[in-house]
């Protein structure tokens, strides 16, 4: 059984794909690949492939933040990407993933939302981040967060004509106002050991996973315990935070 094999290897600090416990899979980031989107990126973490498109539109601000733009993040686990995915509206895992990516960007103040205000209380830019999983081989969160960040950095405003209140999507001008960069690093606990960037076979037997959003200044912007039926000790969380910060630097390099 694959599950027993994964756990047995971990006991000796080894992994099915030969990586070290703290080793990421090869990372690849390509941007500007969807011409119809204002920003886009495709990220591979090993065999996990995620595509993110950023679309911009104009809408009404929320009443409690009349001078700020709006961020909406959605994730689709398309049946294209895995035999485990079914068609239909997003399930709890897709919703959770989109919300974790959204929180890292929103609460880390990655986008300068005030610069997205066109007319206070009336018109603001709306930023839509749509995450499409193309191949699921584990750790969709980190691939999605990296692709979302790359697509935001790639995004440009379509030309807006305030007189006619129209968007000219053929003419792109000016980049999205981005304050900082953020990435997430996910760790899984198996047999009491912590490893980074789990593949599906590892996720299936993980006691729990912990996703940590880290900004380029080394500060933490989000955390989410998920996966499995287990728990973390204070020391495990503490070490996970330190490891995530050190690993975040490797991922951030791909956004330069």
């Amino acid at each position: 059984m694959m599950e027993d094999y994964v756990l047995e290897l971990i006991r000796d600090g080894r992994r099915v794909d030969g990586r070290k416990l703290d080793e990421l899979r090869p990372v690849k980031v390509e941007t500007g690949i969807i011409k119809r989107a204002e920003g886009s990126a495709k990220v591979s973490l090993g065999d996990t492939v995620v595509l993110v498109g950023v679309k911009l539109d104009i809408g009404e601000p929320f009443p409690d933040t009349p001078n700020q733009g709006i961020l909406i993040t959605n994730a689709e686990f398309s049946p294209i990407a895995s035999p485990d995915f079914e068609s239909g509206p997003p399930g709890e895992d897709a919703i959770e993933l989109a919300r974790v990516v959204d929180r890292g960007i929103r609460e880390g103040k990655i986008i300068d939302f005030e610069k997205l205000c066109i007319k206070e209380g009336e018109k603001v830019w709306m930023v839509f981040i749509d995450i499409h999983v193309l191949n699921h081989k584990g750790n969709l969160v980190d691939a999605s967060a990296l692709a979302a960040m790359a697509a935001l950095l790639d995004a440009k405003f379509p030309k807006y004509d305030p007189e006619k209140d129209e968007l000219d999507r053929e003419t792109l001008e000016g980049k999205l106002p981005i304050n900082h960069k953020v990435v997430t690093v996910t760790l899984a606990k198996l047999n009491g050991k912590m490893l980074v960037d789990p593949i599906v076979d590892e996720e299936k037997v993980a006691e729990a996973t912990l996703t940590i959003g880290v900004k380029e200044d080394g500060k933490v912007s989000s955390m989410q315990k998920s996966g499995g039926r287990g728990w973390f000790s204070y020391d495990e969380v503490s070490k996970a935070i330190d490891l995530a910060i050190s690993k975040s630097k490797e991922l951030l390099k791909h956004l330069e």
Partner: protein, 241 residues
């Protein structure tokens, strides 16, 4: 993200008069829903949650059964009148996510393997929201499970920590929740300090994150005592033949 101008900490006191590490007034009662196998009402200040447990009972249809253990189903919801602007009834994306993390927070505490092919249903309804509703739901759900007689490794304690106006605090109220620099909802089993729910959003140094987690675990022991008191109180009332 701070959305208001007014300070949230004045002379070391919070807007509701609490000290930074002070928890709101706690009320806990078990056995509040007669039809349920177990139930509890938990109030932290103005945040009030009722939870009910149905089961363990056979899971139908049969193909959903797990021959090795019971399945735990959790639903977190907010009553439409629980918030200032009426909430649309039914699950939204936020409550779907919270239902999932609530399940993951409770599962490690339950001996699910004692009930193969069964389902245990946990419903947590926020009746009145003033911040920290998911951790209040954990306290209520955990008490309701114990009240239902479901065998557990420990009770699960829920408590939130965070940072407002540069100060690290515990048990965020609604205004603090909406205007904080960071919010860390946590659930854990006090014996052995096993963390079963951990979320965070905001902007913190790693040292601050660790400090808040430590503060929550230490202060959570007081919540644990209240939970045990509430369970004892129910059985002390009952007459023994």
């Amino acid at each position: 993200m701070k959305k208001i101008e007014e300070p949230l900490i004045v002379d070391g006191k919070r807007i509701d008069g609490r000290k930074p590490e002070e928890i709101r007034e706690i009320e806990m009662r078990v056995g509040v829903i007669k039809n349920a196998d177990g139930s509890a009402l938990v109030r932290f200040g103005n945040t009030m949650v009722v939870a009910a447990v149905y089961g363990p009972k056979p899971l139908l249809p049969k193909h959903l059964q797990d021959p090795e253990k019971a399945i735990l189903r959790c639903r977190y919801g907010m009553a439409p009148f629980s918030v200032p602007e009426r909430a649309r009834p039914g699950p939204d994306r936020r409550s779907i996510e919270i239902s999932k993390v609530l399940r993951l927070a409770l599962e490690p505490a339950i001996f699910l393997e004692e009930y193969p092919r069964a389902v245990i249903e946990v419903y947590a309804e926020v009746l009145q929201a003033d911040g920290s509703t998911r951790v209040t739901s954990i306290n209520a759900a955990s008490l309701a499970l114990a009240d239902a007689g479901v065998p557990m490794r420990d009770l699960v304690v829920g408590l939130s920590g965070g940072k407002v106006d540069g100060t690290l605090i515990l048990d965020l109220n609604g205004k603090e929740d909406n205007n904080c620099e960071a919010d860390i909802p946590m659930g854990f089993m006090p014996r052995g300090e096993k963390i079963t729910l951990l979320q965070m959003d905001g902007d913190l140094t790693p040292e601050e994150v660790k400090k808040i987690i430590r503060m929550v675990i230490d202060a959570g022991k007081k919540v644990y005592e209240e939970q045990k008191k509430a369970l004892h109180a129910k059985y002390e009332k009952e007459e023994v033949v």
